[in-house]
């Protein structure tokens, strides 16, 4: 512990160079899968390589992916939100309700996102304020939020959204580049910076690995988790605006089953379901992988239900592979 002692011991900063770590990382492996799928698709269908077709295909995943980025942070912190699809339904219903009072497009968007945020606040308060397990709380709010939509809408639907509102889900920014896609890229970047480049992101990782130790290290655990629930709610609200605009109508059954698709995307993206690790790059590529599978198989007119076999199998295989190779490696040791 003396000065001399210190000088003759040298600890490297890093064992591997950042480049080396990046090459042998989950997102890279997944990227290889994505490129493979792309090439496979090119050969499988002559219609695949058309800018418009590809552009149309992005709509299948952008809305889900926007939620998935926030969900990734939440899952890394060791929590989960199963109510995202229900939040979409409620946000969409609130927009529809506002529409009945003749509000304009900006107000509609504001109401949609704010409803999402409010739902996130509600989840966050229940989970962090009362210290309840998020998986069961959000199973509850999942029924609760969608239930409110059903109470309001019953068997009716809201239609007649203004022309200008259609831009969010149907508009193009430039040539084949849709507004949704641009928003998806911007949000991906924002979440990349938030998770990997800020103190907040570091706190998220610390909490996911060991919430008690993080708390003892001065991380405001409850506050961070609360904010994450708010973010997930906000993103669900944004997704609700996009989806409602794309459909041009609201029914309480909108976005049914999305929660599991969003979580699948996050897990496929290499986020540990038990918390503590994961990257935004991984989720970003996973969104494309899921998009490519469903679009590619769609071009071959494979029913959606059969596509889900591929996605489910991919999920298990992709999680199992590294574990299996590790097992083999260890046996050889």
């Amino acid at each position: 512990m003396t000065e001399q002692n210190a000088q003759n011991r040298n600890i490297a900063d890093r064992l591997n160079t950042p480049l080396h770590s990046a090459v042998f990382s989950w997102p890279t492996l997944l990227l290889v899968v994505a490129i493979g799928l792309f090439i496979l698709n090119v050969f499988a269908s002559p219609y695949f390589l058309s800018p418009w077709a590809l552009s149309d295909a992005t709509f299948n995943f952008t809305e889900k992916a926007i939620i998935a980025f926030a969900m990734a942070l939440l899952i890394i912190s060791g929590e989960i939100d199963l109510s995202v699809a229900a939040i979409i339904a409620l946000s969409s219903t609130m927009m529809g309700l506002a529409l009945q009072f003749g509000v304009g497009t900006p107000t509609l968007v504001l109401i949609g996102t704010l409803t999402g945020l409010a739902c996130g606040v509600f989840n966050g308060l229940l989970v962090t304020g009362l210290g309840l397990p998020s998986i069961v709380i959000t199973i509850g709010t999942m029924s609760f939020f969608r239930g409110i939509s059903f109470m309001i809408l019953g068997d009716k639907a809201f239609n007649g959204y203004p022309e200008s509102f259609a831009f969010f889900g149907q508009g193009y920014v430039w040539w084949v580049i849709s507004f949704e896609f641009v928003l998806f890229i911007i949000i991906a970047l924002a979440y990349y910076i938030l998770l990997h480049r800020t103190n907040f992101g570091r706190h998220v990782f610390a909490i996911g690995n060991n919430p008690v130790a993080a708390q003892f290290s001065g991380v405001r655990v409850a506050r961070v988790k609360f904010l994450l629930f708010c973010l997930v709610g906000l993103m669900s609200g944004i997704a609700a605006v996009l989806l409602t605009s794309r459909l041009g109508s609201t029914r309480p059954s909108i976005a049914q089953g999305w929660e599991l698709e969003v979580i699948t995307m996050v897990v496929l993206g290499g986020v540990a379901i038990l918390g503590g690790s994961g990257t935004i790059q991984g989720v970003f590529v996973a969104a494309f992988v899921m998009g490519l599978i469903s679009f590619g198989l769609g071009l071959l007119n494979v029913p959606g239900i059969v596509m889900s076999i591929f996605i489910g199998a991919l999920l298990i295989v992709v999680i199992a592979l590294p574990i299996l190779t590790n097992m083999l490696k260890e046996r050889r040791l």
């Binding site: 397990p133 509850g140 029924s143 239930g147 109470m151």
Partner: protein, 326 residues
């Protein structure tokens, strides 16, 4: 006695009885024996499934594939019955159970041997199993017309005023009561959930116990696959879609802790009955069925809050003198 009153199951039973009472107050016919039997019959499948999910949750896992397993096993026996009506129905029931068992065992193997978290495995098989229904049935439904009369009747035969479906549930509940309180397997399931590392030291194989739990939930799902198809007289890809979360909800309302190790057979049964009574009662008291979802959501949230506050660690109270004085 005091322990009994503090008991979660006791209060849940009180709530269920109050719900029946309140509904009967508004609509006198509701508490008639036939109506109550009908409600029990309606809840039977959920009771059976909730018991399977309970076993899994007790071992600190979750099975999201139960509904898909149910639908796939159900479709298999539906197709067989449509093609070979002469095969006796009890054989088909066994077959459905066996199919479910195999599907559950697949989940269990992934969790035990490879060590993938249960939520990931069953999220995957949730979609895979359902996809297989489409493949094996070629996308077609099996309609009422294609079932043999016997196939349909095996959930409907009446005995002592209760349909067979209810009796299956009653027998399974009794079986589970014995399994969970009086057998080594039952106690190991609790032990694994309460403290896995301690369970290991006691000689319990955690992975194998979880595997067995998934086999149990799978077998029950498979059996319910037959029940479902027979009860609703249809086999389709959409059977019981989204039901996995209802099953978890029944467990949560029944006081089964998602963290494992805490929960009873009575709790799971009451949780399922709670949902069953509610869905029967709402239309009767003139509440729009569209309100049902929101109300059951609120019930789940309340149940979780109440469970959490009753299960809170008792304070240590090391300040003995002061508390004795006050």
């Amino acid at each position: 006695m005091r322990a009994f009153i503090r008991n979660h199951e006791f209060w849940l039973a009180v709530v269920v009885v109050l719900m029946i009472g309140a509904t009967a107050f508004r609509s006198p016919g509701f508490a008639s024996p036939e109506k109550l039997a009908g409600i029990f019959n309606d809840s039977s499948m959920l009771i059976i499934l909730a018991l399977g999910q309970m076993v899994v949750i007790l071992t600190r896992s979750i099975d999201l594939s139960m509904a898909s397993n149910l639908a796939l096993s159900g479709m298999i026996v539906a197709l067989i019955n449509a093609a070979y009506p002469e095969i006796p129905v009890p054989a088909l029931m066994l077959l459905a159970t066996f199919c479910g068992l195999c599907l559950g065992a697949f989940n269990g193997t992934m969790i035990w041997w490879i060590g993938i978290p249960s939520i990931v495995v069953t999220l995957g098989t949730l979609t895979i199993y359902r996809g297989f229904i489409f493949l094996i049935a070629g996308g077609k439904w099996v309609n009422a017309d294609r079932f043999s009369e016997e196939f349909v009747q095996y959930t409907r035969y009446e005995f002592l005023g209760l349909p067979a479906l209810s009796w299956y549930a009653i027998i399974i509940v009794i079986g589970f009561f014995i399994l969970m309180t009086r057998t080594s397997l039952g106690r190991s399931i609790y032990a694994v959930g309460v403290n896995p590392s301690a369970a290991l030291y006691t000689g319990i194989n955690i992975g194998r116990t979880q595997f067995v739990a998934f086999c149990i939930s799978g077998a029950l799902s498979g059996f319910c696959g037959y029940l479902w198809v027979s009860r609703y007289v249809i086999g389709s890809v959409e059977v019981a879609k989204g039901y996995e979360l209802t099953i978890v909800a029944a467990c949560v309302i029944g006081g089964i802790s998602i963290a494992g190790g805490v929960g009873t057979v009575a709790g799971a049964v009451l949780g399922a009955l709670f949902l069953g009574v509610m869905s029967n009662a709402l239309p009767v008291i003139g509440v729009s069925p569209f309100w049902q979802m929101a109300i059951s959501g609120a019930a789940i949230i309340l149940a979780v809050i109440i469970n959490a506050s009753s299960q809170q660690k008792s304070k240590r109270l090391i300040l003995k003198q002061e508390n004795a004085a006050s």
